[in-house]
Symmetry: C3
Subunit: 209 residues, 3 copies
């Protein structure tokens, strides 16, 4: 099973101390980027945004759904290297995203929740605050696929983009929405992460280059 | 018939004095937000952008088409609480949008016109000037549905978003384009407006939350 | 054959001196805008972004693919009035785009390349730097059509918009991607350029106006 960290995180965040509502990053093994290896691992961080979740009033079933979707993708071994459960606060999320992207420990950050029209939903804004470059096509694809199941998918304001060498993908906060959104782009994520790492550069067949 | 104000506005704006080209808001009855009622009413404002319309040189058939589409949606009683006909001027539209959103009298503002590539088409820019948060999926959906009828729908630069508790939706200026765009999102608008009001919060099945 | 300049540019830029890696604009005949003529010509500039191409290490097959697509469109005579091959450098592209748009010599600038996630891909950012108004629907359409062939089309970050009276369209850098993207919007480009020129204004049937 490629999703090594999966079991560790089914319950509350393990190794992530929470004091005064703050969530601390988990201890991570030093893991140099493996360039050019045949079976790359994509170091993946899950960050759930949920006031009720952060207050301990709700199980984070959406994160579990995301883990299931990641593990089910045979060709793309995503390794969970971090998990956080934060309240819906734009400055805090912004700070955490910066840390994950700039620390060199994550290839992919999946945020979960805060993409809708609720009074405290500010995940897209916090994400855009830190992005170098947006990748609108992945957000469009998540919504277009989602709308085939429910027109309400049009209300997800999810943003996708990159900061430095890390990609950030916003997923909706419902288990169903998060899973369907991720699955809509899972076929193309490995290639995107390879290009971001500097692999696959100069590929003359790359449609999007 | 749920669309109570419909008849009043078939001709030029009633109760909307125009002096020196300025359009004044109509008198509105004080109408507190009804939270949690079974059959919510969505207080809707129509703002048409048209130099020729504002000069009295063209009938506002697009607004009529929008009214017909709103009234035809059985489950979503939209109540027209204001109508304005403005020339294509970004600062003025911006000011009017701010007033409608911040005054607490409108749940939904539908602008009509000014979304294309014409020299004076600046509705999306004026809208973006005042938005707190964009909802790109609704604009994407309007265009995607429109393109099924005509590829020219790709040229609509319409923006959708929210300012405070009010949603703003840009519609194209042709009667056909305005109606088709609105119909493309009409099934999901009531839910969006409910979430914006604070109803439906905490709904674990909300795909987009 | 409507694509008059086609033969001239199959090899390296003719009439475009390159010193210290800089590409100078080609000499162009003074060509007043023809308004209201039956068969309008759209003065088209191709700007390819490619470090390897600019260094003379790669043939610009993508530009050839774009020329083929332009020439194949019977109803829309695009005339190539300029061609440049630049390295992937945001400030230089920005400067060239400004010059082409503000000089009054181009109706359409097609950039080729630099739309992906590679470390030096900054074409969308340079484009957005100079745009007055974005036309998101054309970028959405290019990606949506591209995704029918390959999900990787979602990774194109291409932007479309206008500056003054000139439209700028980003195309991907692969021959296949560039051709497919252009073909996805070729049916609507002439109408878009006509509206931008001030023709077709006041057309009440314009869906997007």
């Amino acid at each position: 099973m490629s999703h090594a960290a999966r079991g560790r995180h089914r319950g509350p965040p393990v190794g992530a101390g929470r004091a005064n509502g703050r969530t601390l990053p988990q201890r991570r093994a030093a893991r140099p980027r493996r360039r050019g290896t045949l079976h790359a691992m994509y170091r993946t961080v899950l960050v759930t945004l949920s006031d009720k979740g952060a207050a301990g009033e709700r199980e984070d079933t959406a994160a579990d759904a995301v883990r299931a979707a990641l593990g089910a993708h045979a060709g793309a071994p995503f390794e969970e290297v971090g998990y956080e459960l934060l309240p819906d606060e734009r400055p805090r999320l912004r700070a955490r995203l910066r840390l994950w992207c700039d620390g060199g420990d994550a290839d992919l950050v999946l945020t979960i929740g805060g993409t809708g029209l609720g009074a405290r939903d500010r995940t897209p804004e916090a994400t855009r605050d830190v992005l170098d470059r947006e990748v609108p096509g992945l957000a469009e694809r998540m919504r277009a696929v989602g709308m085939q199941a429910t027109p309400k998918a049009a209300l997800s304001r999810a943003v996708v983009g990159v900061r430095g060498g890390t990609m950030i993908v916003n997923l909706p906060g419902s288990a169903k929405g998060a899973r369907e959104s991720l699955e809509a782009i899972l076929d193309v994520l490995p290639h995107a992460l390879d290009v971001l790492r500097g692999e696959g550069r100069g590929d003359p067949s790359a449609w999007h280059a």
